[in-house]
């Protein structure tokens, strides 16, 4: 069998490939020797592994993922975090305050309040519990500056590009610091509001045009003309 | 007997294994109803009533007949109103309160089987067109739920209607009055249903609760005494086209056997 990366648009129930010896990747199912798509997406076969990259879908937490979340509820011993997912995030108080604290002396609101934005890492998740988060680590914690933009979580690989080509290009040309939450929430912090807006526009463009070939070139062109045009 | 809320996976696995060998957990044939029991006239206060058992599943239906106004869009037809209640005493999973979507679905199935099966000639129930007609209330209670509530409720409702009599009306000065003289309802047809579940690739008739919970698909098919299909409700799971055709044939046979039971109590019903 061969390696085909055709990136053909398929719909639920569309036949992706027929034959023996294929391995099932993401978003496909098998019926006999036929492998069908279960979502709208782009089909590919790499090393006999058949998969479909969904063009739309929700974020399912995975251990180790970096996510950008918003505090939705302050509890006595933990914060509940909206992580743009059917499953909510939980940030335990000990994670922020340290091992020893007494609930009657400390008000968690003094640390993080409803609406605050955090960058966190998923510590554990197995679909039977909420996603446990941590802000302990470099680049993690509360965010006070910048701008948020949203992208369909399944399109994050396009935003990153092959070996980081796309995101590195955007970072380099715009001079912005970009934190990609795997949950589809992107944090953009740049030297100016205009540059942050420019990056946000590019994120939206990638979201909309992920299935159209030549995306990197189009993004590069926009960056080049905007930066030259002195939009800084 | 069964007060379990969750059917153990072991039981489900056993039912699936047996089904794949075309057998059932209670040793019945695939197209066989459980023991059917029908008793008419159990509530003398009602204009008609029946108690039915299909195995452990029990339903009681009562008929009340009053005078009332016809629907504005059907001035020349009597009114049929079917209500089904899944009584809290019938199952630990039933809660008191207004009918939920399950009860509403069963009520509408019973209603369609009777109405579309043309069981009652509603035009015979008109006293003054557009003004005054007989209103037939069918109230059916599921009192013990061990699977296949649909067929039990249809059977109880049909039996109660067959049992029912209505008081004659005398019209004077444009107004009707009911007198004590009674006559049977204008019955024209005798609809009955059979419910089929698919477990794996096997179709079974009249599922018990455990089978129902294991099944991947369910379809109820109604026939009149001339073997015309008068009601279909397939709303759970998937069926191949061939399984649908098979279900029609199986249910027709099952209904004709159920009809024999009904005829023991109501000899005209076949």
């Amino acid at each position: 069998m061969s390696t085909i990366e055709e990136r053909r648009l398929v719909l639920p129930g569309d036949l992706v490939v027929e034959g023996e010896g294929y391995e099932l990747g993401a978003n496909v199912y098998r019926d006999g020797v036929k492998i069908y798509s279960q979502v709208i997406g782009l089909a590919s076969i790499v090393d006999n592994k058949v998969s479909v990259t969904a063009l739309k879908g929700v974020y399912i937490p995975k251990r180790g993922d970096i996510v950008v979340g918003i505090v939705r509820e302050v509890g006595i011993t933990r914060w509940l975090i909206d992580i743009n997912s059917p499953y909510q995030g939980v940030l335990p108080a000990v994670d922020v305050i340290g091992r020893k604290f007494s609930t009657d002396k400390i008000d968690l609101k003094d640390y993080l309040k409803v609406g605050d934005v955090i960058v966190a890492r998923v510590v554990s998740f197995d679909r039977t519990t909420d996603a446990i988060l941590t802000v302990d680590g470099k680049g993690l914690g509360r965010v006070d500056n910048g701008r948020l933009e949203y992208i369909t979580p399944t399109k994050i690989p396009r935003l990153i590009g092959k070996k980081g080509s796309m995101i590195n290009l955007i970072k380099k040309e715009s001079g912005c610091n970009i934190t990609i939450g795997k949950n589809g929430v992107i944090l953009i912090e740049g030297p100016s509001r205009e540059l942050e807006e420019l990056v946000a526009e590019l994120v939206k463009k990638i979201d909309r045009e992920a299935h159209v070939p030549g995306l990197t070139d189009r993004v590069a062109e926009i960056l080049r003309s905007s930066m030259k045009g002195g939009q800084v | 007997m069964s007060s379990r809320l969750v059917i153990p996976e072991l039981t489900k696995r056993r039912i699936r294994e047996l089904a794949s060998q075309r057998r059932r957990i209670d040793k019945r044939g695939l197209a066989e109803f459980r023991t059917v029991f029908i008793e008419r006239g159990i509530i003398p206060q009602a204009d008609g009533s029946a108690l039915v058992h299909i195995g452990n599943t029990k339903a009681i239906a009562g008929i009340k007949i009053d005078l009332g106004q016809p629907y504005p869009d059907m001035p020349n037809a009597g009114v049929l109103a079917v209500n089904v209640e899944l009584m809290p005493l019938a199952s630990p999973t039933f809660e008191p309160g207004p009918p939920d979507e399950r009860a509403v679905e069963v009520a509408r199935i019973v209603d369609r089987a009777i109405r579309e099966g043309r069981m009652i000639d509603l035009e015979e129930l008109v006293i003054t067109p557009g003004r005054e007609v007989y209103v037939i209330f069918v109230d059916t209670y599921l009192v013990d739920h061990d699977g296949n509530m649909i067929d039990a409720c249809v059977l109880a409702s049909v039996a109660a209607l067959l049992d029912a009599t209505m008081r004659k009306a005398i019209v004077s000065e444009g107004r009707a009055r009911l007198i004590d003289e009674r006559s049977p309802l204008p019955i024209r047809h005798y609809p009955l249903t059979a419910t089929i579940c698919r477990i794996g690739e096997t179709l079974i008739v009249d599922p018990i609760l455990e089978e129902e919970e294991t099944a991947e698909a369910r379809i109820t098919i109604g026939f009149d005494e001339e073997d015309r299909i008068c009601m279909i409700q397939h709303s759970i799971g998937m069926l191949r086209y061939s399984e649908l055709y098979q279900a029609i044939n199986i249910s027709r046979e099952a209904v004709s056997r159920l009809r024999k039971e009904l005829c023991k109590v109501f000899p005209n019903a076949g």
Binding site: G13, K56, R218 | I232, S235, L244
Partner: protein
């Protein structure tokens, strides 16, 4: 036989004109609009998302909830907005017709909510609702084994016909809404109101299969063109 005409001049096996669109609502995760003759249906899908109240969630799979609702202005006489028994039943059967096609075990403890709003009713509203809801589910990116296509068939003036109008529906001897997955050849909903002989049933079902196949092709074309239109626009700009 050739004398037979329907009120709107259609042939027995002729569908009314159908229009479909996806992505018609901004906030919903998936949305679709379907017009079939005078019947107009708008559907929104939210989810998979958190279940409220949380105890309704299932530990092993997502749940599906559906509300089929007719707008008060959708009928000749104003319809009260409170749900009727018919709407409660149709909400349930539409939910079941779609739920068995969705990979629910991928999203335990979540819900997928489907809102079917009938804007104008002229026969076949539950079928148009199912067709639109399946489009909206696909548009929302919810994994499923196939699209579901639906159409009503019936018996009117002694003949088996497809896609009944509201008027035909009122006058008919039988009407039979059918939903299926045309390429996998699986039925997910079939209801019969009225009487048919087993032979008439077969004729009607085969007609429904033919109609659903056609509707299925339209659904696929609609979803494809939604993404291809973006592609064309992008390439045109260049």
């Amino acid at each position: 036989m050739s004398e037979f005409t329907r009120r709107d001049g259609r042939k027995p096996d002729e569908l009314r004109p159908i229009k479909m669109k996806v992505g018609v609502l901004d906030k919903a995760d998936g949305s679709a609009y379907v017009e079939q003759g005078g019947t107009k249906v708008l559907v929104a899908v939210y989810g998979p998302r958190e279940v409220h109240p949380r105890h309704l969630g299932l530990p092993e799979s997502a749940i599906v909830r559906c509300r089929y609702h007719m707008a008060p202005f959708s009928t000749k006489e104003r319809k009260s907005p409170t749900p009727t028994r018919r709407e409660i039943e149709l909400s349930k059967v539409i939910k079941e017709a779609l739920a068995s096609t969705i990979m629910l075990d991928l999203y335990p403890r979540t819900t997928i909510d489907i809102f079917v709003e009938v804007l104008q009713a002229d026969g076949g509203t539950r079928c148009a609702g199912i067709t639109a809801a399946s489009l909206a589910l696909a548009h929302a990116g919810i994994p499923m084994i196939d699209l579901v296509s639906a159409c009503a068939v019936g018996k009117w003036n002694g003949r088996i016909i497809v896609d009944l109008t509201g008027e035909e529906d009122e006058e008919c001897e039988a009407d039979m809404p059918v939903a299926l997955m045309p390429s996998l050849e699986r039925v997910t909903l079939i209801q019969l109101n009225g009487r048919l002989t087993p032979d008439e049933f077969l004729e009607a079902f085969n007609l429904a299969v033919k109609a659903c196949k056609y509707i299925g092709e339209l659904q696929k074309a609609t979803l494809r063109s939604y993404y291809e239109k973006i592609k064309e626009e992008v390439l045109y700009e260049q």
